[in-house]
Symmetry: C2
Subunit: 354 residues, 2 copies
């Protein structure tokens, strides 16, 4: 039996994507060679890379708007560093909404003055700061759209005329946004886009070339742009599986379609969390993430019972992050509504039995 996979990332991917990926490892494009043993400069792989990039622009509605798409290595953690290396001349503004934002701030501090315009660190990041001001003279503003660990999500973004950078690792391709309001979007693949091993960067080219420092080649967005993400050997398998996942999303109806599904899944689970006296949510209601729902038992002594029931129901990956505790159900694009129903049923069964 296939499990109900609520893992926070790496996470569930569509069944048909897994099947195609598995086939390609044996025989890619019926060419009697494995995907992972061909040259990344072969026509077959170059067309995968092209297709993946075009799908990103199409799904985000960013075609012909001056954006370049890169598939890099090193995860969002490398982007914490690269954004500052490439964009920070003197001062940047950061919104601190969680562990990852905090790490981004730590790395950027090596390159210039940082203004933390808002922070929810005081309450273990259980809300999204609001009403903050972004100084006009900063090189850029950086935020994190969804906080995987804590289960909060920015429902709106500040009006800001300057360069805006967003870490969308855990909710890109999950909801409709005006993506053209961002100048640089980055995302580790391993949530809604594909397996671990590649990182998406969508960048407006005209924001580059404005810092004084010399940037090492591998950290320079311009090196990668000039070589179409082939400055060095890309993470072939991860890019291919990302392309398949993006194609799957497009075939379903793109972001407008999946957003509705994601809203349904989130509503189903949050309604149960609020209704069921045995559970309570961890974060401010208005900031609840549609991707990662964090909650606890109101009676901790039921933990063992509930955990056993979940295992029996085939529910996987709902342990909370160690810095929050409780439970975290991640409901990325590929998670079926049915899996959420199974979790809700299990919560209701716990209530009935206790």
């Amino acid at each position: 039996m296939k499990k109900h996979n609520f893992s926070a990332g790496p996470c569930i991917l569509p069944e048909e994507v897994l099947q195609k990926a598995s086939d390609a490892v044996l025989n890619f494009n019926n060419d009697n060679l494995s995907l992972i043993e061909i040259s990344h400069r072969s026509a077959s792989f170059v067309s995968v890379m092209e297709k993946a990039k075009n799908l990103v622009l199409e799904l985000l509605d960013l075609e012909d708007k001056g954006y370049k798409v890169l598939f890099l290595q090193g995860g969002a953690s490398t982007q914490f560093l690269m954004t500052a290396y490439n964009l920070l001349n003197s001062k940047a503004a950061y919104l601190n909404t969680g562990t990852w934002a905090d790490k981004a701030i730590k790395e950027a501090k090596l390159f210039g003055e940082l203004v933390e315009v808002g922070s929810s660190k005081d309450k273990n990041y259980n809300y999204i700061p609001k009403g903050y001001e972004i100084p006009k003279d900063v090189d850029y503003f950086h935020c994190t759209s969804n906080n995987t660990i804590f289960g909060t999500q920015m429902k709106s973004f500040p009006e800001f005329d300057g360069v805006t950078v967003c870490d969308m690792s855990s909710d890109i391709f999950s909801r409709q946004l005006d993506f053209s309001k961002f100048d640089l979007i980055y995302a580790g693949a391993q949530k809604n886009m594909g397996p671990a091993g590649t990182t998406l960067v969508v960048i407006k080219e005209d924001i580059l070339g404005k810092v004084d420092r010399v940037i090492p080649s591998m950290l320079n967005y311009q090196s990668h742009i000039s070589k179409d993400s082939m400055f060095n050997t890309p993470s072939v398998f991860a890019v291919y599986v990302s392309m398949l996942t993006l194609q799957w999303l497009k075939d379903l109806g793109g972001i407008p379609f999946i957003e509705k599904v994601n809203e349904k899944k989130a509503a189903l689970l949050y309604n149960e969390i609020d209704r069921n006296p045995l559970f309570e949510g961890i974060v401010a209601k208005e900031d609840r993430s549609n991707m990662n729902a964090t909650f606890t038992l109101t009676n901790e002594s039921l933990k063992e019972t509930f955990d056993i029931m979940c295992t029996k129901a085939g529910i996987n990956g709902i342990n909370g992050h160690r810095s929050v505790g409780g439970y975290r159900a991640s409901m990325y694009n590929a998670l079926p509504l049915y899996s959420v129903q199974v979790l809700v049923d299990t919560m209701q069964e716990l209530e009935k039995n206790n």
Copy 2:
């Protein structure tokens, strides 16, 4: 029919590894979850990472000698930068034996004074410089053990008491060396170790912590060592397939066994290149690589004929690199002797017909 895959990298991997990798994408460890949709912190994956690291130390005979093994992202190109960031205080010595060495030099120059102790750039890198002196006061000496593009290989390494760094991307695990003479070895996976997407770093811990600069976390070897290569999400699939490939090599008899096979394959091909009047080798005989054999036709007008014959014989990936021309047959660990025989037969057939 499976092709004879002479690709320079990404390159041929063992059939049984491809089969296991394909299976794991559907169902890993019979756990009803795909390898690529489980947490990298799950017991299943943590044990893959541990096993891969132990296999590296065992195969290189570096157990209990103060080395740490890392699986990072970003390819050898990121190592060009990281080695300098972590080790270069004032001055370093580099041996320039090819395009990759040259790129390593370019990156390191951002961090200190570089002494190019030897270079074969004057003859398009068709030999390995010898008789050079390494200044005693350098922070480290850097070399490239095998030059994929040009087809040269260092058959011996200079006697040097200081820190020695070696890019072994294209011949690690292919021949017996006293690996304990090196303080830092790095290698992109996509030749003898696995698919593109992960980079092996084997590092003697005591060489770290000696530079004055602040090193960004993702570029700091100590960050990765302290978190056992889990400082951020690793390239799960690439690490898993590397582990399978290392296990395959161990089961065969390790490096002593594969070295003999590699010598046989290289001898078979180079003997034909030297014997057959229609072909000639490109590089100095004493520096010929056992991994990548570069050669040309003595009569360029036969190119089309030979290319068609190769395609008919199922030979894949022998076009030379654009900066060298001619042909390049890469004979990595997983390439069967039989594939080299097919290439040699095709060369002989060309001779017979012309």
